[in-house]
């Protein structure tokens, strides 16, 4: 999980695609470009929700609630990034990540009889939950999920082989994700017993 970007982000025009009740998300917009990172990247912001570093060479197709990225090395293998808020579960970020990964696998034909699903989950000190699940059906899939506060981001890709480079790029991309409205654990200290 990357740290907050040191340079103030540029505020660009937000274009809202989806018009209906419920949460609205805005286009991911280039917020800042830097060449100091290992790969030449530019910071993209998704409304107030998060920002992340996208390689300059990536082709970004903004779909509103989803972003499709294609990398020059593997143009036929897209990486999809979807963001949801509020969480699709009332069980908090950890359950949201676990549920998203499991749901994803089951909806791709990885039946419960296909073998155990073993999502890898980690929780950082600030309460951000990150998870990863790789599995193989007729395609090799990798799905990554990050949740914090009331937000969930899911990224996934499919390739013919489980060692395809797209999966490394997906992991690098989500490792650069910097949540907005990050609530550090100290914000909500446990209340004293009997204080309610």
């Amino acid at each position: 999980m990357g740290s907050h970007h040191p340079v103030p982000l540029q505020e660009l025009n937000f274009i809202v695609f989806r018009e209906r009740s419920g949460p609205l998300f805005a286009l991911a917009m280039p917020a800042h470009t830097t060449h100091t990172r290992p790969m030449s990247t530019e910071a993209w912001r998704w409304g107030d929700m998060f920002e992340l570093d996208v390689p300059l060479s990536a082709e970004v197709r903004d779909l509103g609630e989803m972003v499709e990225l294609r990398f020059a090395e593997e143009p036929a293998t897209p990486l999809l990034l979807a963001a949801f808020s509020p969480l699709p579960t009332s069980g908090g970020p950890e359950q949201a990540v676990h549920g998203a990964l499991e749901r994803f696998a089951l909806s791709r034909g990885f039946g419960r009889g296909s073998g155990p699903l073993r999502p890898e989950l980690s929780v950082d000190p600030q309460g951000v939950v990150a998870g990863r699940l790789a599995f193989v059906t007729d395609l090799a899939w990798e799905v990554l999920a990050i949740a914090w506060n009331n937000h969930l981001v899911v990224a996934f890709s499919a390739a013919a082989r489980p060692d395809a480079g797209i999966f490394d790029r997906a992991e690098a991309l989500l490792a650069s994700l910097r949540p907005g409205e990050l609530i550090v654990s100290g914000t909500y200290l446990p209340e004293a017993a009997g204080d309610f």
């Binding site: 749901r103 909806s107 034909g109 007729d138 390739a159």
Partner: protein, 494 residues
């Protein structure tokens, strides 16, 4: 009606192409079903099946003949004639030939002995239309001659006589066949539509001419007494007539696997009423798990790789309520259109093409994306599935749609469309704002659809789901589908 309401109705009704209310052309419908031409002139008929005298039918009688033969052609799975190399069915007002065979009278008006029909191993049969009761008998008789000479779609005269000894061994009980294995429920259903006729021995005197004619005569009796024939083959295998039928059932299946006993049971059960005879047979065998609709894939798709891919996923396509869908989870999770799944908690009957039926409950529904998920209750965990593609399709990509066209027009008229319809088309383009409101799906395609196709999957050439049909544009007749991107977004959330 307010303008908003008018728009809503306009969207709801023409979910698929406007119904074609013209009367069905039985000649074309015969060709569509069988894959063989129905012709009425000597010029269109291979000479090997012509008699010396074959007067033509009047236009009215041709239409009557075609209507009769269309109903009886549906005793065979769609596309079967094409698959077994039977390309032409010729019908005339009479068949006369100066050479007799000792079994038929001389007719002056025919300037010869009166025949009923002829088969020759050139992929053609001729049938003469003397009366409504006789024509189907001749048709099934001559069709069986071709089947008798066909193995796995290949026709050879050598096959025609190859089985004659086995046939004789069966009905003389030197080497009888075991009874047909139908479950009690199917037997009860057949009894409900049977007439009580029994074929004790051979059909008639003409069966003595040769083993081939004996079999063809048995075939015409069986095809016009399906329920009775299946019942006696199940319950009274000791009868010589039953042994003849049991032999035929093997011959049908050897010629083309789709002509299975389960298929003929389904045809027999669909004939319970006169009205039902006009309809295609429905799979009513919950326990046999015979996917009688798989033949439609073969009939529609010539490319062997594409056919193999689509045969692999057709078993996962379902009828859900009055719409279509596809199973994506071995334990039963149906992906369909939001206007099919309707509200969370709604319940539906869900049917698979192998005849299995389940109750499903809507667990997710998104009206904006027009997508829904229906979880099956009490389902096994090894149901057939189709998988979502790893990426969106491109313009020009081939797609195959398998769906459930409505059997009635919005006005209540029968459509004669079959379930598990297979149509091939291509991706024609995308509307902007791919994740916008999908009341008109934002993927455009050209595969044929009809009312009831909503929720049917668009498969790519690997058999992966790349979109879900949900609507059509009444002005352009362009079909529209919910895009791959919307499906992936929906599945990530639900």
């Amino acid at each position: 009606m307010t303008s908003i309401a008018a728009l809503l109705v306009a969207w709801l009704l023409p979910q698929a192409p406007a119904p074609d209310l013209r009367e069905v052309d039985p000649v074309q419908a015969f060709a569509d079903w069988t894959g063989a031409r129905l012709v009425f002139t000597r010029k269109q008929t291979p000479s090997q099946v012509l008699y010396a005298t074959t007067p033509q039918l009047s236009p009215t009688r041709r239409r009557e003949a075609a209507t009769i033969l269309l109903a009886h052609a549906r005793h065979y799975p769609q596309g079967t004639f094409k698959r077994i190399g039977l390309t032409t069915v010729a019908v005339f007002a009479g068949c006369g030939d100066p050479e007799g065979d000792g079994f038929r009278p001389w007719i002056d008006s025919l300037n010869g002995y009166r025949y009923f029909g002829r088969w020759h191993a050139v992929g053609a049969i001729a049938a003469c239309y003397y009366d409504d009761g006789q024509l189907p008998l001749t048709f099934h008789h001559e069709v069986f001659h071709h089947i008798d000479a066909t193995r796995g779609g290949k026709t050879d005269y050598g096959y025609f006589n190859e089985d004659d000894q086995r046939f004789a061994d069966a009905f003389t009980r030197r080497d009888p066949y075991p009874a047909l294995d139908l479950d009690a429920r199917t037997v009860a259903s057949l009894r409900g539509v049977a007439e009580g006729d029994v074929l004790e021995e051979a059909v008639g005197e003409y069966a003595q001419k040769s083993a081939g004619e004996d079999q063809a005569e048995t075939a015409r009796w069986f095809q016009t007494n399906l329920a009775d024939g299946l019942l006696q083959a199940t319950l009274r295998p000791e009868l010589a007539g039953s042994q003849r039928i049991l032999h035929l059932l093997r011959e049908y299946q050897k010629a083309s696997p789709g002509m299975s006993p389960e298929w003929f049971v389904a045809v027999a059960l669909s004939q319970g009423t006169r009205e039902a005879q006009k309809k295609p047979p429905e799979p009513q065998l919950q326990q046999t798990r015979s996917n009688v609709w798989l033949d439609k894939v073969d009939a529609e798709i010539d490319d062997p790789d594409l056919r193999r891919a689509i045969r692999g996923v057709q078993p996962a396509t379902v009828r859900i309520g009055n719409g279509s869908g596809v199973n994506i989870d071995p334990s039963g999770l149906i992906l369909t259109a939001g206007h099919v799944s309707d509200a969370v908690g709604d319940r539906f009957n869900v049917a698979f093409p192998d005849g299995r039926r389940f109750v499903g409950v809507t667990v997710a529904s998104d009206k904006f994306l027009d997508l829904g998920l229906v979880r099956l209750e009490d389902a096994p965990d090894d149901l057939p599935i189709a998988r979502i593609a790893g990426a969106a399709p491109h313009v020009g990509d081939t797609v195959v749609v398998i769906g459930q066209p409505g059997t009635r027009t919005p006005d209540g008229e029968p459509t004669n469309y079959e379930p598990w319809h297979v149509s091939v088309g291509e991706i024609r383009g995308f509307m902007p704002n791919i994740l916008g409101k999908q009341s008109l799906g934002r993927t455009k395609h050209s595969a044929w659809t009809y009312w009831g196709h909503s929720g049917s999957p668009l498969f790519d050439t690997s058999g992966r789901i790349v979109a879900l049909h949900n609507s059509w544009d009444s002005k352009t007749a362009m079909r529209h589908a919910v895009p791959w991107e919307a499906i992936t977004l929906f599945l990530s959330k639900n």
